[in-house]
């Protein structure tokens, strides 16, 4: 049996099963928005990031797979300076949501990274009890050039820890490009070369600092192989993000939010297309998942088991996940759909069409 954590607008769901047989096992934080979840592979701890409508961001932790939860610290910004370069920062220094939760390296028990909106990166070294803002990136002057991509403020949605070296992190910001550190966050480089933003004036369309990567993922077996679902299409890098190559838009569309990469095969990746940024619904009301097996040269669209008529599901950037076997996939939508695939996305099985809007899913 495998376990999937489903972070939704109205609580966290625990889903268990295998193959075509999956079922909702339990519901936690009923009624509370949950924006991200994590099952830490190092110690088995579960985390749920809440975005309480009245009381702000909270982080809950379970050491017994959801039987009990306790509150731990939540990322929070320091006091905003009243003088100096950041005094006129239009971005509020208040964490609005935790958008990414990533465990540190295998040899760093207790280390967690949180990407937030606004786009601060926070680190915990004590299993979420306390958090510290990564100041080198937050105080990077080019941050003033970032802007919100459909949100009020820029947000950090992707935080990747290199399995070969946990001091090497890759983070992505909508809209603020892709940034990397090789020294555990002490210094950062902007690594979005090759991306193009057609929403910007042509003269600055290639500006790395204002690209809108919707999600960045890497191949577990070959971490230098990266995929991005960008606002303006799909990109791939085979050299750790030093250079990005645009991938020809697959049919029926190259627009979307989610991307997943086979953990063993860097040439295989999945996407969930929508019509366009101004029309965020499946093309012709038919929901499909596209997959490439050859590094983006060709794609196949799979709809078997997915709604094929008058379907208006949108799959958010954290709502398509592949399990460690490279065959089991999970996908969830803003319209409360949850589907599983046991054969690499070629056929899908509906678990529910009645969930709250889903923000994120994670295999546990």
């Amino acid at each position: 049996m495998e376990t999937l954590l489903v972070a939704s607008r109205k609580g966290l769901f625990v889903v268990r099963g295998r193959g075509a047989q999956w079922a909702i096992e339990s519901h936690h934080f009923a009624g509370e928005p949950v924006t991200q979840a994590l099952a830490d592979p190092r110690d088995g701890a579960w985390y749920a990031a809440l975005r309480m409508g009245h009381f702000g961001v909270k982080l809950r932790k379970s050491l017994d797979r959801g039987a009990t939860w306790k509150e731990v610290g939540a990322p929070a910004f320091p006091l905003k300076p009243v003088q100096g370069f950041w005094a006129d920062d239009p971005t509020p220094w208040n964490v609005d949501l935790v958008w990414a939760l990533t465990p540190g390296g295998a040899d760093e028990p207790g280390t967690l990274w949180a990407g937030c909106m606004p786009a601060g990166l926070f680190k915990s070294q004590d299993g979420g009890q306390t958090w510290a803002l990564n100041k080198p990136l937050w105080e990077e002057p080019r941050r003033k050039g970032w802007f919100g991509g459909g949100n009020d403020y820029p947000g950090m949605h992707s935080v990747l820890v290199d399995p070969r070296d946990p001091r090497h992190l890759t983070v992505a910001v909508s809209c603020g490009g892709v940034w990397q550190t090789l020294d555990g966050g002490g210094s950062w480089s902007l690594t979005a070369r090759g991306m193009t933003a057609d929403y910007l004036p042509a003269e600055v369309a290639d500006d790395e600092n204002t690209q809108d990567p919707h999600r960045v993922v890497s191949c577990g077996a070959q971490p230098d192989a990266l995929w991005v679902q960008h606002h303006c299409g799909i990109y791939r890098s085979v050299n750790g993000g030093s250079q990005w190559q645009a991938v020809k838009a697959p049919s029926p569309s190259g627009f979307g939010f989610a991307v997943a990469c086979d953990p063993r095969n860097p040439d295989r990746a999945w996407f969930v297309p929508a019509v366009a940024d101004a029309c965020r619904i499946p093309v012709d009301g038919r929901m499909v998942v596209t997959r490439t097996d050859d590094g983006g040269k060709t794609f196949t669209a799979f709809g078997d088991g997915l709604p094929q008529s008058h379907a208006y599901h949108l799959v958010y950037r954290h709502s398509l996940e592949v399990a460690a076997d490279g065959q089991t996939l999970a996908m969830s939508s803003t319209t409360g759909g949850l589907w599983m695939s046991a054969n690499a996305g070629e056929q899908w099985h509906c678990v529910s069409r009645d969930l709250p809007p889903v923000a994120a899913i994670r295999f546990a």
């Binding site: 009245h54 009381f55 702000g56 509150e71 006091l79 220094w93 208040n94």
Partner: protein
């Protein structure tokens, strides 16, 4: 010593218990900070990262809602009553 009464509504206490209490009178900020010393985990429910009252939390002094969320320098008088609630919203 002049004292004021501070109470957090049940919608807050269901997350972190904090019984009604009396604390020394002073500015509204000093009163709230003093009351939260007994339940420091509740502070992040009331205040945001900048130590301002959260947008969807409301503070009443007696029957009047406090509009200032940032400075909280209103001076409270002996026997004033402070009530902290969740601002009701939604549809």
């Amino acid at each position: 010593m002049a004292m004021v009464r501070v109470e957090f509504a049940a919608s807050l206490r269901r997350h972190v218990e904090c019984a009604p209490q009396t604390v020394a009178a002073g500015s509204l900020r000093s009163v709230l900070e003093a009351a939260l010393l007994t339940a420091p985990e509740l502070a992040h429910y009331v205040f945001d990262d900048q130590r301002s009252v959260r947008k969807h939390v409301a503070v009443f002094v007696n029957r009047h809602m406090v509009l200032d969320r940032v400075n909280l320098n209103q001076q409270l008088a002996p026997d004033d009553r402070v009530l902290v609630i969740q601002a009701l919203t939604g549809g």
